[in-house]
Symmetry: C2
Subunit: 198 residues, 2 copies
């Protein structure tokens, strides 16, 4: 198994984190994003979207961080990480969408603007990030894990990185008690690993 | 089964479309978005994100359009609409993320700016929409259906509305031959229904 990776990417980290939680290892292949390696033909052949991470397993290239978590859960995890019933899968899918959309465009983008000086509307990203943190704090006031399961799922792994890294985008995480308690639960999981900034 | 619905929403339409493809019916409960009904406490109790659609089935409220498709496929469809194997589910999840993120922020947002006069950066949304249409056209040059399956999946249902409605956002769909052929394949499916603009 090989992971085309970038250390500071939260989307790559969520794959590294899930692999570690499962006790699995992948060979890490660093992608030179600053040098534009992700926009070259050989990388676009793996992922036409031109983004890290890309996982290669058993001859298949998989892209999109949420899709990679779905794959790893189905292939290597027990059903607790990704329930098999319709309602359970839908509750997970609800937060995979949130990871792909709201978390990426809120705290994810604010972090890109501040940490990597990506041009764009920082205030708009921070405004969205506050909505994201409030929604998460509300959900986590009602449930220990995002998908309303007794144990963590890939929904938690998908959303955690950009929520936890929100400070990199100038957000203050201190007001969100339920969110911080969830961070602590995730960090206590066997096999948990961090990344720069966490 | 009840669907909290808004006729002109592509996200609601994708649920109505999938129900029709499955030969299922839901009671449609129109939500007065213009009057702000989706931000009132009784609606936020169903969906804290304050968005349509919401599906209520067997006493459970489900939100997020992609999650609703996952639920309906698992509960009421055969496995072809949402494969059960790890690789098949990941290939679908890859395009559910695309529906939640790129399709919503590209052609979806361009349509909101033009058709509903939502303030924002129309040029940026149109620029993203062109990337979305190009990526879809490329994928559909290689595969008949987005998730690389022999028959359609919920990935196609999730992405179709905002791609097909791109003209509402000032985009020209004519250059994308593979995309138009896919539109035609979807429109030929038994049970297909349209919406205003399609």
């Amino acid at each position: 198994m090989q992971l085309h990776d970038f250390t500071l990417s939260g989307n790559c980290y969520k794959v590294r984190l899930f692999l570690s939680l499962l006790g699995r290892e992948a060979e890490l292949l660093p992608v030179d994003l600053r040098g534009g390696a992700h926009k070259r033909p050989e990388f676009l052949a793996l992922n036409p979207r031109g983004q890290v991470p890309v996982l290669v397993d058993e001859g298949q290239a998989l892209y999109d961080p949420q899709a990679i978590l779905v794959y790893l859960a189905g292939r290597y995890a027990n059903d607790a990480w990704y329930p098999r019933d319709a309602l359970g899968q839908a509750r997970v899918a609800c937060w995979l969408s949130f990871a792909a959309n709201e978390a990426a465009h809120g705290p994810g983008k604010a972090r890109l603007h501040v940490l990597f000086r990506l041009p764009g509307d920082l205030e708009e990203a921070q405004r969205r990030a506050v909505q994201v943190l409030e929604l998460l704090d509300g959900q986590l006031a009602r449930h220990a894990w995002l998908a309303e399961t007794p144990t963590p799922t890939i929904a938690d792994v998908a959303v955690y990185p950009y929520a936890a890294l929100a400070g990199d985008g100038g957000l203050d995480l201190a007001p969100y008690a339920n969110l911080n308690a969830w961070f602590a639960r995730i960090r206590a999981l066997p096999g948990y690993i961090g990344m720069p900034g966490l």
